[in-house]
Amino acid sequence: MSILAINDLKVQFPTPEGLVKAVNSVDLELEEGERLGMIGETGSGKTVLGLAVVRLLSGAEVEGNIEYRGKKLLLLDEAEMRKLRGREISVIFQSPNSLNPVLKVGDQIAESIRLVGCSNRQDAKKKAVQAMEAVGMPDAELWADRYPHQFSGGMKERAMIALGLACDPRLIIADEPTKGLDANIKAQVVELIRDVTTDKSLLFITHDLSAAAQICDRIAVMYCGEIVEVGRTEEIFANPLHPYTEGLFRSLPIMGMKAIRGASPSLIDIPSGCRFHPRCDRPCENCAKAHPPLVEAESSPGHLMRCFQHDRG
């Protein structure tokens, strides 16, 4: 059974410069216990998509359907939604400023725990310390009484993860948790996320392909507000079908950094037809006219992409 089903989701932001179409008709399903990597660059709409699920976007127009275990999230009232946040669906943000600088880290985690119904202050604090121990923080008791500015970057991210896991949620949305960390710290954080989410569902939002590969069962690639390709991790890596995904791989340092030409289009003024066609190195005449649907590739079942070229053969 799928834990999360997104149907025809549209998110738009009205701004003085025009309507920013951040997410355009996204369909996505996440199985119970599955870990999905959402790959995209700045302005691809991946973070907006993640926050739309927990309804934490302000100033946005959200349309479509988001179903969490049969509950239509967009139809819930605010109080019901609030009950889901933290205890059923939690979010792990990129850390530097995501912890409140004037509150002790342990208290911030305990606050979450108390919301679930643990009314005793001491018990909540004890559980918070346990949560910090669970993410591999040595001397958790000591660190629980310290403030975020005393933590290093990696420690803060661990604390954020502890916070996200404190109420034992079923679904975790992690928004770029590895951004800006040094390589060796990043490796530790990636491993930690992989280990603590073994029995959970995870939506892992990132721009980092290798981090996603280490954690996720499936990967979805977003470009310009829509999903252009989704499939099993090894499929996406070994056999990328969409030219954007291919280009992304080629841009990696390890693959020699060969660039995709052109720049990501603005989300106000989205290109017609296939959104990638102005930058594609093998466009056909149809690409500029029609918008390709997200279809299953004939060669590999369960591997979906949005490109006419592969659609045909």
């Binding site: 870990r35 040094d182 590969a213 069962d217 992304l248 841009s251 340092p253 995709i260």
Partner: protein, 300 residues
């Protein structure tokens, strides 16, 4: 081209400066003309400070910097200013590298105006030539930094830097604030500059995989000191200092994994028996060695 001896800069941790203390301690190295030296290290190791010191954008506490035979620390203000265009800098965050109140045209033409002796038309010609070179179109001329994307701003920075016709460039994490695909584009421009103009680079980065592509030699920095220098491949194959080993192993982990996945050598790294809490588990999840073993096992 560049020789550095015992370069030191201490920061007296001021009332507010506690977190930003990024000292440089007795650093010595040299870069030959046309060579690119990669400078790697974790955050806060002092690499940014070192970059700024080299161009004398901040004054060192002690040490010597010889640029093209000239001891630049003994130059007078005026002489230094005359020398400056020959050494340029590219910063990490393109959005703050340009004056927010100047349009691209102004930013790029400023070094040309300072050089003097050019007519307005000549300056405009040169600017449009530079714009084209870095892949910007004329429509970007009148835009200010906030009207451009990070990648476009970094291109404007490159055009502005090229306008000075430099021989030596300190590139301080020029790619790390950019998206993967934009990184590749800017990287292309940088290697073009290196190839076509024989520009000497100090390429500062925390990403060893990029440094490997860009540099002839690599210097590893840790807590204000350079702990290892050597030819790039040498450093990657036989890292000697523990800090270097740490950096190299986490970088190649990343790269190897991607490569193996791409070549279909391993099916997946994530699908492994999932021990529930309290269950018996052979490998300790907190041990970083386990994942490496696992990948190797998957290889066969």
């Amino acid at each position: 081209m560049i020789e550095v001896e015992g370069l030191t800069r201490h920061f007296f941790s001021g009332r507010l400066g506690k977190e930003r203390v990024e000292a440089v301690d007795e650093v010595s190295f040299n870069i030959k003309r046309g060579e690119t030296l990669g400078l790697v290290g974790g955050s806060g190791c002092g690499k940014t400070t070192l970059g700024r010191l080299l161009l004398r954008l901040i004054e060192p506490t002690s040490g010597r910097i010889i640029f093209d035979g000239v001891d630049i620390l003994h130059l007078k203000r005026r002489e230094m200013r005359r020398l400056r265009p020959r050494m340029q800098m590219i910063f990490q965050d393109p959005d703050t590298s340009l004056n927010p109140r100047m349009a691209s045209l102004e930013s790029i033409s400023e070094p040309l105006k300072l050089k003097g002796g050019l007519t307005r038309a000549e300056i405009e010609d040169e600017v449009s030539r530079l714009m084209e070179k870095v892949g910007l179109s004329p429509e970007h001329l009148g835009r200010r930094p906030h009207q451009l994307s990070g990648g476009q701003n970094q291109r404007v920075v490159l055009a502005r830097v090229l306008a000075s016709n430099p021989e030596f460039i300190v590139a301080d994490e020029p790619l790390s604030a950019l998206d993967v695909s934009v990184q590749a584009q800017i990287f292309g421009l940088l290697s073009e500059m290196k190839r076509d103009r024989n520009i000497t680079f100090l390429f500062i980065s925390h990403d060893l995989n990029i440094v490997r592509l860009m540099s002839d030699r690599v210097a590893v920095m840790d807590r204000g000191k350079i702990v290892e220098v050597g030819p790039t491949e040498e450093i990657f194959r036989h890292p000697l200092h523990p800090r270097t080993r740490e950096l190299v192993s986490s970088a190649s982990m990343d790269g190897q994994l991607t490569l193996m996945l791409k070549e279909g050598l391993i099916s997946t790294v994530t699908r492994r028996p999932r021990p529930r809490m309290g269950g018996v588990c052979d490998d300790n999840p907190m041990d970083s060695k386990s994942s490496r073993l696992m990948i190797n096992a998957g290889c066969r």
